[in-house]
């Protein structure tokens, strides 16, 4: 995918650019807001990674301008501003996701993948099917290989999110934010515990573990087991 990163700090810029290139994307970089806006308007990028604090024109303004021009390219904000209202501000300006520095590259990669998938989103689909799992979003039921599995509401939301992002790594932070709407770091391993319970139910009867743990990153469900 063609990705543009707008970031004035050279180290961060390289860190992200190199990492994304290694993941197979084409990456362009801009050093300040004006250059970034110009490139974003000219080139057809599939994702923008934008730092909020930029010389010249700040990140929020760049994205607001692009949105006012009718561009719907997904935007991931990078920022040191972890203020309570900063995240909401970023999303209101037109951003799609918000990552606080410093971040592990795996976190960035997982979120980039999630954003890139958006156009082919499963938003409208009522039934999701992946690797033997069937998720009925209307009835809120899960079947594995035809067998109904009893799940608590949180567990259902958890497996639904993983399936919606099948084939991609989903980080713990993404799960905390999207399944539980928690925007802080817990002391305890709440995500692991819930995943482990979910596994227990899904894998009952000596079945293959459908949820894969990706070390140092998060979890993933393969699209075709």
């Amino acid at each position: 995918m063609k990705i543009l990163i707008i970031e004035d700090d050279a180290q961060t810029r390289d860190y992200v650019a190199v990492g994304l290139k290694e993941a197979g994307h084409t990456v362009d970089a801009a050093k300040d807001g004006h250059e970034g806006l110009f490139l974003a308007q000219e080139g057809a990028y599939e994702l923008l990674v934008v730092d909020r604090m930029l010389p010249g024109l700040d990140g929020l303004s760049v994205v607001k301008k692009l949105r006012s021009e009718g561009r719907s390219v997904p935007v991931l904000f990078l920022t040191t501003m972890s203020g309570i209202d900063d995240r909401v501000e970023g999303l209101n300006a037109g951003g799609d996701d918000y990552l606080v520095k410093p971040f592990a590259f795996s976190e960035l990669e997982a979120r980039v993948s999630a954003l890139l998938r958006r156009p082919r989103d499963t938003f409208g689909q009522k039934i999701l099917q992946v690797s033997g799992l069937e998720i009925d979003r209307m009835k809120r039921t899960v079947k594995r290989d035809g067998q109904l599995i009893e799940l608590q509401p949180t567990e259902f939301r958890l497996i639904e999110y993983l399936v919606r992002h099948a084939g991609q790594v989903v980080t713990r932070t993404m799960l905390l934010e999207n399944v539980w709407d928690f925007h802080f770091d817990p002391k305890t391993n709440i995500v692991e515990t819930h995943i482990s319970r979910l596994r227990g139910k899904l894998n009952a009867g000596d079945k293959l573990d459908i949820i894969q743990t990706v070390r140092g990153a998060g979890y993933m469900i393969h699209e075709n087991a």
Partner: protein, 455 residues
């Protein structure tokens, strides 16, 4: 107090304006009284003259000339001299009787200045209002009354008003200056105090007198504002101190670890381990930074801005459900009693973090296989959240200390954490204008949070 400064003050200008208005009215009244008095007295005098002359005419009509002459003579002898003047004159102007004849032979009113007749000496002339009529046979009759008293009276009135005018100006000026000076002094005091504060003396406060007028209210409000600013500054200072003081340790630890690794001869894998440990340490430090900043943000967040209606029942329920499996892994059961539909005005993210921190604490700082209770209900008009455990509890003398930044209880020093969890909780409770207290759960710890519904 400099005069130009004084004169320039609003209060002086206001006083001058009032004075001006008052003086104008004073003048208007004065003139009215003057004119009215003159007019009234003159009218009175004229009607007296008229009645006199009519009486004389009646005598003439009755008894002819002799009767008239006799009447005039009688008048002349009986009335005080110079009060009235009579003159009966023939066609040639020769005086028939009376005491003056120097009047115009025209019917109507005349004002004449006649000499006083006091025996031989000629005194000052007096003003007389004279009415002249023509009798049959070409006889001119003139009667005049002394009008001097009218002038005297009006002059007295004029004088009185002029003196009064001057007195009012004097009093007004003095009064105005005095009022302005008093006011200016108060303003000066406030100005000086404020300058002292701006120069850096943040503990200075404005004096508030007992008058409770607008200036005092203003001074009191400014003082409260200064208190708030002082608190905010102290807050920032504390964060800086905390960062310097308590982050030194983990950063130093990190440095030692890295230096040791550098000087040791380690295998590739061992280096990797050391680097991973270092990264974990750095993550801890970052988490502490974030927590400190968050506390600071919460404490300086403008009260209730961005508050929305939050269902506390939902928040507590979702947090309890999220943490239940974690608790169960350690054999701890969470029993919850949550009244539905308990809503308050607040920040959902912060309230979630509040409940989460408290419940996580209960899970982490208690022995295995002990129960935890969560309850949410209305207590005395507020919402009460109570989280109880059967752990070691916290000694009463430490109840205040545990909320301080970085404070860690002895028994918890080895567990993960930076000692800021309760500080964040305290900051969130205060932002929502609530109260948090620690109690003995007999045994164990009971955390009680009371939150008002908000408007």
């Amino acid at each position: 107090m400099k005069m130009p400064k004084l004169v320039g003050t609003t209060s002086f200008k206001l006083s001058a304006l009032y004075l001006g208005l008052f003086l104008s009215s004073f003048l208007a009244i004065g003139m009215t009284v003057y004119l009215l008095t003159w007019h009234t007295l003159e009218q009175q005098l004229k009607s007296n003259v008229e009645s006199d002359i009519n009486r004389l005419k009646a005598e003439y009509d009755d008894g002819g000339l002799p009767e008239l002459i006799s009447e005039i003579n009688e008048q002349l002898t009986s009335i005080p001299q110079n009060a009235k003047r009579f003159g009966l004159v023939d066609r040639q102007g020769r005086l028939i009787t009376g005491d003056f004849n120097g009047f115009n032979k025209v019917e109507g009113w005349q004002t004449l200045s006649l000499e006083e007749t006091t025996g031989k000496t000629k005194e000052e002339s007096l003003n007389f209002k004279v009415l002249v009529i023509l009798l049959p046979n070409q006889l001119w009759l003139a009667v005049g009354h002394d009008s001097g008293y009218i002038e005297d009276a009006c002059e007295a009135i004029a004088q009185a008003f002029i003196w009064g005018f001057l007195l009012v100006i004097a009093l007004g000026a003095v009064g105005g200056l005095y009022i302005s000076r008093t006011f200016l002094k108060k303003i000066d005091r406030i100005t000086h105090s404020t300058q002292a504060i701006i120069a850096g003396d943040l503990n200075h406060r404005l004096t508030v007198s007992k008058n409770r007028d607008e200036l005092d209210n203003l001074a009191a409000l400014l003082n409260r504002m200064l208190d708030k600013i002082g608190a905010l500054i102290a807050n920032v200072q504390q964060v800086s101190n905390d960062i310097a003081h308590d982050l030194r340790t983990p950063v130093s630890r990190l440095k030692f670890r890295l230096e040791t690794a550098l000087h040791s001869n380690l295998s590739r894998d061992q280096y990797n381990d050391q680097i991973n440990s270092a990264i974990a340490e750095v993550d801890n430090i970052l988490a502490t930074f974030s927590a400190l900043l968050r506390i600071s943000q919460i404490e300086s967040k403008s009260r209730r801005s961005g508050f929305k209606v939050v269902s506390l029942s939902e928040v507590v329920t979702s947090v309890t459900e999220a943490l239940a499996p974690v608790a169960e892994e350690k054999g701890k059961t969470i029993t919850s009693e949550i009244n539905p539909d308990l809503k308050i005005q607040g920040d959902k993210e912060l309230l979630t973090q509040l409940v989460f921190n408290l419940l996580e604490n209960a899970i982490v700082h208690t022995p295995e296989n002990t129960p935890i209770t969560v309850s949410l209900k209305t207590v005395k008009g507020n919402i009460g959240l109570v989280i109880g455990d059967r752990g070691a509890g916290i000694a009463e003398k430490l109840h205040q200390k545990v909320f301080k930044h970085f404070y860690r209880l002895e028994q918890s020093r080895t567990t993960a954490g930076n000692g800021l969890g309760l500080s964040i909780v305290a900051a969130i409770v205060e932002l929502h204008e609530g109260i948090i207290t620690l109690d003995d759960n007999q045994p164990g710890l009971k955390v009680v949070v009371s939150l008002p519904y908000g408007k």
